[in-house]
């Protein structure tokens, strides 16, 4: 088993190193061959591992590979924990990654930096695998930061573009804010549980259920709440939850395959994976769970709203990703970890499909991403069109498609949650369904329906993308439709996650849902509100963008204050830019000019040098060189001494 696992992580790494360091020697074909080979090995073996765990009940594998260090009784290791959760993540990551690798051959065919690109995405696959396969907090943090590094490199892939290198710096720094909390959470685990190993930490955690912590003043905090909230701050960075979401829309500066792989399907779901992995800890803190749920629901609804006013095709999908991540996070907060992970999986497929489909359209439009210039693409790109229809239906939760099952399960679970904030979360998530359908079909109608592209030149050159692009779309479309129907039973209501995810009996929201097979779940869904809200969203989108195109403008003018707020993304970017970027530069300048230059150098250092000089210049007057001055001083001194003797 260890050999297989090592092969899974090292094959993509080897590909990345070869493609990166010997890019000139092996050329373009060599680069994509070697990386695709590596990721294929990884993917096939991961599917084998998944098979072992899903059907053959393989025992949980928890072994270390090597000892990073042992210090002060604290063992820090690199090792693998393989159970069904890991196996599922491995399969999703390597499969989507493989599809993206193949797709990239077509997408990047005419771009510079081809080898570099393949090197990066293979490196990403390695990093992500290290993250999900870890059996300890240290390696988790390694993977966590390593995917951040690759994300940084790929957002800034077009490094000549100012907007790209701004976006990648922003992404890295915002993620670092999350990691700031994350590392403190790890430090708390290391201190109180005295281990960095998951299994040991979970075993020791119950002993600290009542430990209180004095963080500020006299207020007592539950240790578990502090740990869970700190760890979740890390997840908020990586999984782009309000208020650390600002980097994700900007990350669209990266090439589209990356947006699909990293910023939709895999990396951004690391936070969801992490919280699910830590379920034994989260179950011990209702405060933390509430916090998680409220954050997720807020992100889900409000980020979806912004998606409605975007005109860049990739940004619409990006805001949709933010919103869907919010759904997953909210599910975690309701202790429906399985539902969050289930949505993670279905979302990985249909969102990768949507991004790659959008990328296919972008290729057709010669890298124009503005939806206002598109329209009628359906006629020119039939395969892409149908694949996008599938992705869109899966996203809005059309009954039977995979997204329907996962999203409905989340909403149901939240409905059963008793935690503080669950009512708020439920309303927002249900309303979010309408919003999702609205922006999704707005995109569909604006891009694929209506009259052809505005620019006649673009129209002439518009044609279907090559097979290397459409084949991955079709490969992703299959799970986007079917995987929900076939896996909802075991994953959500069966024993798939038994022993992997811990849910306290009082929080078992999924257990309260009556489940009588996938079909029954679907029929039950038809009696609920969400599916009709989705339908309403589609209708509204159709009416506004197909029937009365002028209406969109009218609404925007009538409710211009809403449009103004949404167009400015609720002001987060401007505020952060002003407060944090500007504020820290100002603070830095003050500390430097006033603290270092003026006080330390000016007063203390040069000041003492000057005062020595000043003292010397005063002393100089004593040495006038005139004999009578000295004689006079001697006489005065003699007189003084004599009188002192006499008087005494």
């Amino acid at each position: 088993m260890e050999t297989i696992l090592l092969a899974i992580v090292l094959a993509p790494l080897t590909g990345a190193i070869i493609a990166g360091l010997f890019r000139n020697q092996i050329g373009r074909v060599g680069a994509h061959t070697v990386t695709i080979l590596g990721v294929s090995i990884s993917c096939v073996l991961s599917l084998y591992v998944l098979w072992q765990y899903a059907f053959d009940d393989a025992p949980v594998y928890n072994e270390s590979v090597y000892t990073w260090m042992v210090v002060d009784g604290l063992r820090m290791e690199v090792g693998f924990l393989i159970d069904r959760l890991t196996a599922m993540m491995m399969a999703v990551v390597t499969f989507v990654s493989l599809m993206v690798h193949i797709y990239t051959i077509g997408y990047m065919a005419h771009e510079d930096g081809y080898q570099r690109f393949f090197s990066y995405i293979a490196l990403f696959t390695f990093s992500m695998l290290m993250l999900v396969m870890s059996n300890n907090f240290l390696q988790l943090f390694f993977g966590w930061e390593a995917v951040g590094l690759v994300s940084y490199l790929l957002i800034g892939f077009y490094f000549k573009r100012e907007s790209a290198i701004f976006a990648n710096l922003k992404a890295f720094l915002v993620n670092r804010v999350g990691d700031f909390g994350f590392i403190l959470g790890i430090a708390a685990v290391a201190m109180y549980l005295n281990t960095l190993d998951y299994a040991e930490a979970f075993a020791h955690a119950p002993e600290h259920a009542d430990t209180m912590l004095n963080v500020w003043g006299d207020a007592q905090w539950s240790l578990m709440t502090v740990i869970c909230v700190l760890l979740f701050v890390g997840a908020m960075g990586k999984s782009a939850q309000i208020p650390l979401h600002v980097w994700l829309p900007d990350s669209m500066e990266g090439p589209t395959p990356i947006s699909a792989l990293i910023h939709a399907a895999t990396m951004v779901t690391a936070g969801i994976f992490m919280v699910a992995r830590m379920s034994p800890l989260y179950e011990m803190s209702e405060t933390a769970l509430s916090f998680v749920m409220i954050t997720g629901a807020t992100t889900a609804f409000f980020m979806g709203l912004i998606g409605i006013v975007q005109n860049d095709i990739k940004r619409v999908v990006a805001y949709s990703t933010l919103s869907q991540l919010g759904y997953m996070v909210a599910a975690l907060g309701a202790s429906a970890y399985a539902a969050g992970l289930f949505h993670l999986m279905t979302h990985a497929f249909f969102k990768a499909l949507l991004f790659l489909g959008a990328g296919s359209v972008i290729i057709g439009m010669h890298h124009d991403q503005d939806m206002r210039n598109m329209g009628g693409v359906r006629k020119y790109m039939p395969i892409t069109h149908w694949m996008m229809v599938i992705g869109t239906l899966a996203l809005i939760g059309f009954p039977g498609f995979s997204g329907f099952f996962s999203k409905d399960a989340i909403i149901e679970a939240i409905h059963h949650s008793q935690l503080f904030g669950s009512g708020y979360a439920h309303v927002l998530l249900v309303a979010g369904v309408f919003v999702t359908a609205l922006y999704s079909f707005r995109l569909y109608f604006m891009v694929f329906r209506g009259e052809g592209p505005r620019d006649s030149h673009a129209k002439e050159h518009l044609h279907e993308s090559p097979k290397v692009v459409t084949a991955p779309l079709m490969a992703l479309a299959v799970p986007s439709i079917f995987i929900g129907y076939f896996t909802i039973g075991p994953v959500l209501f069966g024993d798939f996650f038994d022993g992997v995810i811990t849910v306290a009996a009082v929080h078992d929201t999924l257990g309260e849902i009556d489940f009588h097979g996938a079909f029954g779940f679907m029929l039950h869904g038809l009696t609920g509100i969400p599916v009709y809200l989705a339908g309403a969203g589609v209708l509204v989108a159709w009416y506004i963008y197909m029937r009365r195109p002028s209406l969109a403008l009218e609404i925007a003018t009538r409710f211009d204050w809403i449009y103004w707020i949404l167009d400015r993304k609720f002001g987060f970017d401007a505020l952060y830019q002003w407060l944090f970027a500007g504020g820290s530069r100002l603070l830095g300048r003050i500390l430097w000019q006033v603290g270092d230059r003026l006080v330390i150098d000016g007063v203390a250092v040069n000041g003492s040098a000057c005062s020595v000089g000043w003292l010397a210049s005063v002393m100089r007057y004593l040495q006038t060189g005139y004999l009578y001055h000295y004689a006079f001083a001697m006489i005065i001194g003699l007189l003084g001494l004599l009188s002192w003797f006499v008087i005494r």
Binding site: M69, L153, F159, A187, M191, L587, A604
Partner: protein
């Protein structure tokens, strides 16, 4: 354990004598001079390797000891030896010196023999500082170290080199005078010049506080700690690349080493009483200096400030020991903090050396260190950009690089001392990334900014060798720090045990 031959003496005197030979060879055939210097430095490094391979990790005793009478009238002896704290720093010194010699190969055209000689002599003297077990011997090496550095900055430095050298000299000299007084006082108290004898010397709290402050003045200037740090940016800016590398990679470590060898074991009670002072200064270094680094316009200044912030972790790791020992909630962690500080020192030796060498590569080509003069370097120097981004990530503490290891350990340890120490220390995750990567954005990425940048040529084989060997070191330490930890473990465990016992 002691070897058949006096390794430490060889590692000290070989480069010094070699340096004198290089000096004597003159500048008529510069290549002979250069090869001779390189040979000496490589030989020294090779000869220093047995210190690691022959090191007994199970004991905290001094190893490879040499002890000869020197000035018997004052009980001063030529006493050398290493433990797990000094040995890694000696290897760091011999390793970095090779790179400095290579880095100065073509760049230094003015009196190369003197330049190379200064670095070789410096190497021997610095090894002497780490190996000396006699206080007077230590002090001699300590002061001798200033001379070559003074010359390096003063002769091959930039336009304001005179101001920088005087500031550097006065700052460091001021600190060391007080140290001398403390050493002499302890000699009179103990009747011995042995540093290890000082460790067991009974001192009352007043004596300890005075001695502690004297040491603090000496070591804080060297580290440098806020607020006695302002000599460093000036010295770095004016120093030639090699000078900056040695300064950042080795000389700053001598301050940290001093805390471990002198302050903590000799004055444990004063250290405990005044730990708030050091912890405060360290945390200010991390946060305050982080912001100051953000707004620097000069690449070398930026890296110099980043050095100060990173060294803040070293002193933080060393001085949270007492709070951890006093914390009833934990029964371990003090060793973690000190180990973290030591790892941070070694790691910073690699990373700061690499960062200064990267700036040196650019400076050699464009003769500017201003960030604003660059932009889009990656377009013309892709391999250089690869290395610079790599080292920048290491500087920002990315896991997998050595920069992460020490910071991680110190953050974990400081959490055990006080929640808020950890919070302030962890801000380096954000600040460190901000100042480093913002510089990278403006220097490396973007469109080619100027004709000067367009004309840049990528790094040559010589530069690749230097940067690649540092990159390998950074990766090795980041991916597998266990060997370094094992070497230090016994000595640091012993140290923590020693300082946990009050002398009063």
């Amino acid at each position: 354990m002691s070897a058949d031959w006096p390794i430490l003496s060889v590692v000290i005197w070989l480069p010094i004598i070699g340096g004198l030979l290089v000096l004597g060879s003159g500048d008529r055939v510069p290549n002979v001079t250069r090869w001779l210097a390189l040979l000496v430095s490589i030989l020294t490094f090779v000869l220093s390797i047995p210190l690691y391979t022959g090191f007994d990790v199970s004991t905290a005793q001094m190893q490879f000891v040499e002890n000869l009478p020197w000035i018997p009238a004052f009980d001063v002896s030529y006493h050398l030896g290493v433990d797990g704290i000094s040995m890694p720093l000696i290897l760091l010194t011999t390793f970095i010196t090779i790179l400095v010699i290579i880095a100065g190969w073509e760049v230094i055209q003015y009196k190369p023999s003197q330049y190379m000689a200064a670095f070789l002599i410096m190497e021997g003297v610095m090894v002497g500082v780490f190996a000396a077990l006699d206080a007077m011997l230590f002090y001699v090496f300590w002061e001798a170290m200033l001379i070559p550095m003074f010359i390096i900055i003063g002769i091959w430095g930039g336009p304001r080199r005179v101001y920088a050298t005087i500031k550097f000299f006065l700052y460091t000299f001021l600190g060391s005078v007080f140290m001398l007084v403390a050493l002499i006082y302890m000699y009179f108290e103990s009747g011995s010049m042995e540093i290890l004898a000082f460790h067991d010397l009974k001192l009352n709290l007043t004596e300890q506080v005075l001695i502690f402050v004297a040491f603090l003045l000496a070591f804080a200037v060297k580290v440098p700690m806020w607020p006695v740090h302002t000599w460093l940016p000036d010295a770095h800016v004016e120093a030639p690349t090699g000078g900056s590398v040695i300064l950042a990679a080795i000389m700053l470590k001598i301050g940290g080493y001093g805390f471990l060898r002198f302050s903590l074991p000799i004055t444990p009670d004063a250290s405990q009483t005044l730990d708030w002072l050091i912890i405060g200064m360290s945390l200010i270094a991390v946060v305050y200096i982080g912001f100051v680094a953000l707004v620097q316009q000069d690449m070398k200044k930026l890296i110099a400030y980043s050095s100060i912030a990173h060294m803040g972790f070293v002193t933080l790791g060393f001085f949270i020991v007492f709070r951890i020992l006093a914390n009833p909630d934990v029964d371990s962690g003090a060793v973690l903090g000190v180990q973290g500080g030591m790892v941070q020192m070694v790691s910073h030796g690699f990373i700061s050396a690499a960062m200064f060498l990267c700036v040196g590569v650019l400076y050699d080509r464009l003769h500017s260190r201003q960030i604003a003069d660059y932009g889009g370097v990656v377009n013309v120097m892709p391999w250089f950009a690869f290395f610079m981004v790599f080292f920048a990530m290491a500087n920002a503490g990315l896991p997998g690089t050595s920069g992460f290891v020490g910071e991680f350990m110190v953050i974990l340890a400081s959490f055990r001392a006080d929640f808020w120490f950890a919070v302030l220390a962890a801000t380096t995750l954000i600040l460190g990334a901000a100042y480093t990567l913002w510089m990278i954005k403006r220097v490396v990425f973007g469109e080619v900014r100027s004709e000067g940048v367009a004309a840049l040529s990528d790094i040559n084989a010589r530069e690749v060798v230097v940067l690649a060997s540092l990159a390998l070191a950074v990766l090795a330490l980041g991916l597998w720090p266990a060997p370094l930890i094992e070497v230090m473990d016994a000595s640091i465990g012993n140290l923590v045990q020693h300082i946990g016992v009050s002398k009063l």
